[in-house]
């Protein structure tokens, strides 16, 4: 508030930015960029997982939780100068669900009335979304959906201007126009992107910076060197493992390193359809055999041990649950009970970027100690994912690098695709092929609890679901990764926004530059 606007910063990334089309962008690198360029009806308070209103000035939810009426903010302008209206909201939702758009997020909108018709290509307009007046939009759901407000906050529901989308066609992702705090100034493919402050941004005092430069194609180790020399401000990929101890142990950087949690769990899946993992004892034995502390040591302590699927900061996390303790002897006994006293051979698939193969080797050694001979298959990401999607391919997968980071901070997001029956299909993401109909029913039940007052009840339900999952042990949760970011001396802002759980990695809108103060 007494912070002056102005200044700029440089953020580096290794990979190229693929697209800035909010209907399409779905990697953690463009996730936060899109959030800065576009707005949705809902958002989260900076640095937290608390929902807040964004383009929606207000909203009402019907009794049965199936009708949402959003009142839009007036006078919000797109970067091209046109005012955003309810038509745009409808257009945006129609667009993202239209199969022609090929949006990976279309599935999130399944609860909107008329979704199936659109998905099947029968119509181009969502029946459930209606424009009441230029500043009011009504969304009807076909079933109660407790996560719907979260859905309205994910990137896929960002509001886009029709005329620009039509003008650029498939290239809209390279020429994004939204209502966000920043607008895209320049994009030199393979080199850099420049974001410029949106002068007409409706939220006062935001953003702080005049300009952000994203430099892509930078090796993380080198990016850190540049940061140390003051040429870059934020290493978008975080502190590379190879440099982690070096910088964290250096007092010079003590104040510049920010630690935060994230909605992440690293786990080993065991394909319950493939023997011997069809035996509960075997899965439990694996859970008990892994020395999580050692794994965490190998990644320089950048995580906390996990004993259940949900990360600690997620509602529904069970703090009382103790999970399977590290107990190789007990694991051996269990194996013997399963008739596999002499151990067996199996494969562990792993994504081939550091530190995942190392973690896999650590697990490999642990399993070897109880007689399980594991062969590691370190492959490109796409191949691991493909193997996981086949019922009889990958007996075990280490999730690292592809691991589940929540789309939105709600426990349901951790269940359906990766543990529910709907994910246990060919090409699905439920790599353990675990399908428990009873739990699925409970999950549906939990998601129908839309009444904010019953929040605790819903959480309790989810807690039960996840602990039940652990009883069946299709996964061996290993750790929850902590996020470590570094920023240059020049940058200011609350620590939380540099490890924002939703705006990953950084909430760009609230960063400010010390040198203009």
């Amino acid at each position: 508030d007494d912070i002056k606007q102005g200044g700029s910063m440089v953020v580096t990334y290794k990979d190229d930015v693929s697209t800035l089309d909010p209907a399409i962008g779905y990697d953690w690198q463009n996730w936060s960029m899109i959030k800065s360029l576009f707005d949705g009806l809902m958002d989260y308070e900076p640095g937290t997982t608390n929902l807040m209103k964004d383009l929606a000035e207000d909203y009402t939810i019907s009794e049965d939780g199936t009708v949402f009426t959003f009142k839009l903010r007036e006078g919000v302008k797109f970067h091209n100068g046109r005012e955003m209206t309810a038509e745009d909201v409808k257009y945006s939702l129609d667009r993202v669900t239209n199969p022609k758009t090929q949006s990976p997020g279309a599935g999130f909108f399944g609860s909107i009335k008329g979704f199936d018709a659109v998905a099947a290509g029968e119509t181009e307009s969502l029946e459930g979304v209606t424009v009441v007046d230029p500043y009011t939009v009504k969304i009807e759901l076909s079933r109660p959906d407790a996560t719907f407000l979260h859905v309205m906050a994910i990137n896929f529901s960002s509001i886009v201007p029709k005329e620009e989308v039509e003008k650029w066609g498939a290239d809209f992702g390279k020429h994004p126009v939204g209502t966000g705090a920043f607008s895209l100034e320049d994009w030199t493919l393979g080199q850099h992107l420049i974001f410029k402050r949106n002068e007409a941004y409706w939220r006062a005092g935001v953003p702080k910076l005049d300009q952000i430069t994203f430099e892509v194609g930078q090796e993380p180790v080198v990016a850190l060197l540049r940061l140390q020399r003051g040429e870059a401000d934020i290493p978008g990929d975080g502190i590379p493992p190879a440099k982690f101890l070096e910088v964290t142990q250096d007092p010079q950087y003590k104040d510049l390193i920010i630690e935060g949690g994230q909605l992440h769990t690293g786990y080993v899946t065991m394909n319950v359809k493939m023997p011997p993992f069809d035996k509960l004892e075997v899965r439990q034995a694996v859970n008990m055999a892994i020395n999580k502390d050692r794994v965490i040591r190998i990644i320089n302590g950048r995580a906390v041990a996990a004993n259940q699927p949900l990360p600690p900061s997620m509602p529904g996390y069970d703090t009382a649950y103790e999970g399977y303790k590290y107990d190789p002897e007990g694991a051996k006994t269990l194996l013997a009970k399963a008739g596999l006293g002499d151990g067996f051979e199996t494969e562990l698939y792993v994504y081939n970027t550091d530190p995942n193969p190392r973690i896999a080797q650590s697990i490999q050694a642990d399993l070897a100690a109880i007689g399980i001979k594991v062969e590691i298959k370190a492959l490109a990401q796409a191949n691991v994912i493909a193997a996981g999607g086949e019922a009889d391919q990958a007996p075990m997968i280490w999730s690292g690098g592809m691991a589940w980071i929540a789309d939105f901070p709600d426990p349901s997001n951790f269940y359906g695709p990766i543990l529910g029956c709907s994910g246990a299909v060919q090409g699905g993401w439920n790599w353990s092929w675990y399908c428990n109909e009873d739990l699925d029913k409970l999950a549906t039940e939990a998601d129908s609890i839309t009444d904010p007052a019953k929040k605790a009840e819903r959480e309790e339900l989810w807690r039960k679901i996840f602990i039940s999952v652990m009883d069946d042990a299709p996964w061996a949760p290993v750790f929850h990764e902590q996020r470590f970011t570094m920023r240059s001396e020049r940058l200011g802002g609350p620590d939380a926004i540099f490890v924002d759980p939703v705006h990953i990695p950084v909430n760009y809108d609230y960063v400010w530059a010390k040198d203009v103060q």
Binding site: Q102, A106, A119, A382
Partner: protein, 306 residues
Amino acid sequence: MGSYVLRRALQSLLILLGISFFTFVLLYLIPADPARQIAGRSATTQTVENIREQLGLNLPFYEQYFRYLSGLVQGDLGRSYLQKTEVGELIASRLPATLLLMVGAIVCELLIGLTMGLVAALRRNTPTDTSLMVLSFVGVSSPQFVIGILLLYVFAVKLGWFPIGGYGTFMHMVLPSLTLGFLGAGWYSRMMRSSMIDVLRQDFIRTARAKGLKRWQVLFGHALPNALLPIIAMIGIDIGLFMSGIVVVESVFGWPGIGQLAWQAIQRVDIPIIMGVTLVSAFAIVLGNFLADLVAPLIDPRIKLR
């Protein structure tokens, strides 16, 4: 000569066709589902199906291939699955950087390598020779990543002579070129040394000396042209080696070249990009070798093109 060029051009076209076919086969066989990749983790089966259909991934193999080919004939390399951008545009935006780096690297490796080889040949079997040999083995045995970081650390971070990565000016080019060049220099120096040793004892070197030519004239005017033949062949090869080795150097130095594009595409099975980059680099390689073959008779007139 004219007919030779024509014949080679046709053959090259066939090679490119072959490459495109084999690459397509590989990509077809590779167990990864591009549709899944595009759809992401939360997508429903329906979404995936849609995407698959739109991209024609559900078509039989030959049909997919012919679709690709017919696009290719019209100069259309397709659109990236994940970036949604025209592959032609992506490649065009990155190709200049790669070419520039390649030129820089070739200059470096020729300068360093040929000098090292020459000195080693002249100081044959002396400690100088042995140390140069060890150096060249260090060059070929060191991972590019390590050399790159080392150079960066010493010359950019510590000494501040060069920028820490990036693209644009001549100064940006020096370190990455050196990194790539150091590897090549190892090859060139060994090659140069051995062909120089062979050439230097030929009778015509004696003749050149008998004319009273200066040492450098004998070396560069008479010995070098005779020793150059295998070197020319290597420059053609080099282009191929670069295409595979450039990924690391580009990422260390933040060089916006084609290598990074290819690497990311391979990781994500972005078929149109993989195909495009493969074809472009295949073209470069084929062209490089073609030129090497054309130049060989100029270097050694006894060789005839047939």
